[in-house]
Symmetry: C2
Subunit: 235 residues, 2 copies
DNA sequence: CCCCGTCTGTGTTCTAACACACATATCGCG
DNA sequence: CGCGATATGTGTGTTAGAACACAGACGGGG
């Protein structure tokens, strides 16, 4: 424990590194705080760092030409943001936005790439995480096509819950609508139904998940598929 | 040219390898034919080989519990099928189905993994391709959320066209509906409108693209985003 | 305490796509 | 040629969600 000075409530990917690799990376890691709504990367923009969230949650959003948007993936302390730095593309055509305020560990692009090129556990973990993220993206595609807003809201809430240490989430319906790519009124109605069933409580930008198993029985299969795949690949 | 005996109308990824790496791989590559509808990988199934299509087109489909399905990506001679073999997960939760009959070059999993671990151009190309595929998957998610069936049909046709050497595609409306995750009647109507405009001609499982630029003016932005990203990453 | 900006609830209307039913057209084969 | 299998076209509801409009409800700063 005491050797891992940078990791009290740390990032699960980094926590899985062997001591040797972890210690090699340690000098290059630094804490950074994020506030709600902060833009971590702009779509197509150069990335100077990779981020390993510890308490923050970061959404990957695609911004349409007409201004509407949709979330294609989310990363918390189980993962990282900045895949393009080791995949070789340097940029991605989407925006990374802080969905829940908190901290992340960041690492300069060059240090990341050097360690990745060594081909050790670090590379293996990063690639397996990337595969899990691909499952999340593709499942989002399916879910957008085939499931109701209410089911998708449940999926979104549960994915957020899994990346938080709390049942409470600071998030307006307006912002959730942007994430899900639906109208704000649609979220109001879906959230209203969940509240009637006693699954959540929603008060002015502050949502509390009251009944996790109830949410799990309302959600579509997409949630469990993604969750199982993360566990299979990263456990 | 003559040195590349396995590649007359070959796979573009393999074609980009330096001579040395290509020659090292050559003994491990073998041609395999695929017929329309053939299942290359089952969802969650073990993969013995990675496939580099030359003339075949292969769709990645997610099969829902209730039997409906949706396409999350497609690979032709610009790419490969079997990402999980080098990403480290071994399996993926989706099915790979032949969308257009043709050939592919395949390579045993072990040989692939050994060459990948060398960390040369081969690794670099495979990772960049994977990033391009991620863009395609995430753009599919967005497109499913925000665009009409007609736009999506155009996108699908253009993506297929780009992977064929012909304007003619053998594919029933029923199968396209499965790919797009919509009803067959929806495809009938969208295809009917495209035909009225003279963009395509559709006769009993045989579709001909008559006016490529017309299709490009009907398609949503998703097509160009994906295409540009493939070019950026792999050109 | 009041007020204004923000957030949420609720109407009405409109449309794309679904569900289901069935008619028609085409192909290949005996 | 005729028949059955396959593929496509069409018609009538039904519904989820969009678009738009606006009413309440909360909450922090003056």
């Amino acid at each position: 424990m005491s050797q891992r000075s940078v990791e009290p409530t740390g990032n699960k990917l980094l926590a899985r590194l062997p001591q040797e690799e972890y210690e090699r990376l340690l000098p290059y890691l630094e804490h950074v705080p994020f506030v709600l709504g902060e833009v971590v990367y702009e779509s197509g923009g150069q990335m100077g760092h990779i981020y390993f969230p510890t308490t923050a949650i970061i959404s990957l959003l695609y911004m349409m030409e007409n201004g509407s948007s949709a979330e294609m993936g989310v990363a918390g302390n189980e993962g990282l943001v900045g895949i393009a730095l080791f995949m070789g593309g340097n940029t991605v055509p989407n925006r990374a936005v802080v969905q829940s305020a908190g901290e992340a560990l960041r690492m300069k692009a060059q240090a990341l790439q050097e360690e990745f090129a060594r081909g050790g556990t670090f590379q293996r973990l990063l690639l397996r995480y990337t595969q899990a993220l691909m499952t999340q993206m593709s499942q989002t595609a399916v879910c957008n096509r085939l499931h109701t807003v209410e089911q998708q809201l449940c999926r979104w809430l549960l994915l957020s819950r899994d990346r938080l240490n709390s049942d409470e989430l600071v998030m307006t319906q307006e912002l959730i609508a942007n994430m899900l790519g639906v109208r704000r009124e649609g979220v109001t109605q879906a959230a209203g139904r969940l509240q009637e069933q006693g699954l959540i409580s929603y008060v002015r930008g502050r949502i509390t998940m009251l009944d996790r198993s109830g949410l799990e029985s309302t959600v579509c299969e997409c949630y469990q598929v993604v969750k199982d795949e993360y566990e299979r690949l990263l456990a």
